[in-house]
Subunit: 158 residues, 2 copies
DNA sequence: ACACCTTCGTTCGAATTTGAACAACAGGAG
DNA sequence: CTCCTGTTGTTCAAATTCGAACGAAGGTGT
């Protein structure tokens, strides 16, 4: 029986979906990276840090929590927050209830930088992805990839 | 009029699609990277190099062409091909019709490595992405992201 | 109070990625 | 042929990323 040792390979449709996903992801990242760097001097990762902080209560998040949201390593976040701190866009604040804890907090300057960088970034995301897809495609994408993300986040923690 | 200076922000549905896409992409890459490294000692990028070579006529591709398929920088590819060459999985061969040209060619050992690594990788892609989605979702994803990729590849070249 | 296990953020070294600069060549236009 | 423009792959320095190891606390059970 072929199912014993032979894996279930991807059929053409599945392969097309997978290839499209990988290609779109890489190409999109590339473009957004360039645009943000040229336009605002920020990397995509740094921009995302500012976004997540601005969306959080008190414009601040614990380092670990922020690392989870960004899907990056803790050490990687430490590095980037230090970079942003040097540029005055983010500040570190110690946590009252836990001596080990560190809050990353958006500064006024960071908020201003985000206000300046966001329009161009959103416009490009719209041009390259959102406006290319129909309303139905967007809904399916949100639903499907939302489920994929949710599952991935689950068996990551235990 | 708000349309003069105010950008068109993403509505909740659009935001969900964009967030889902970014999160799924990052989480997926993370998992595949770990699995490949532990299972075969390959990075996802290196694995993709082997895949693209094995799918090419003569199991070989020009460096630039390969870099385009992988959506990576030429210098990045130079580095990775050198790594793979040291491990005997890939060989460089000069191009007959163009003295500057360099072919990256899959070796027998590289083919064997791919044969060994592919099943586990495909199984994980299936478990984490393909089998999570319905047939319809897969079709939409292939169609939509295929279009997105195609457009991105176009205004990259000129 | 004590040992034990987990969590928090950082540090460290190694690996990887990038863009710019480069040298060598290809492919015409004149 | 000769100049010009575009390509090709590599090199280089700088920036970024990751995982493992770490010190310092938190939390729990006894």
């Amino acid at each position: 029986m072929s199912s014993l040792n032979e894996p279930r390979w991807l059929d053409p449709d599945e392969m097309a979906a997978w290839r499209g996903f990988v290609a779109a992801s890489n190409l999109l990242n590339r473009r957004l990276e360039r645009q943000l760097k040229e336009d605002s001097g920020l990397s995509h990762q740094q921009y995302e840090i500012l976004v997540h902080l601005s969306a959080a209560p008190g414009d601040s998040l614990r380092m670990t929590e922020l690392a989870d949201k960004l899907v990056t390593s803790k050490s990687g976040l430490t590095y980037q927050v230090t970079q942003l701190e040097r540029r005055g866009l983010v500040a570190r604040r110690s946590c009252p209830s836990d001596v080990r804890g560190v809050f990353a907090e958006l500064t006024d300057q960071g908020r201003e930088m985000l206000r300046q960088a966001a329009p161009g970034h959103v416009a490009l995301v719209r041009e390259l992805l959102i406006d290319v897809l129909t309303r139905e495609q967007l809904a399916v994408l949100a639903e499907g990839l939302g489920e994929v993300s949710a599952r991935l986040r689950l068996d990551e923690t235990p």
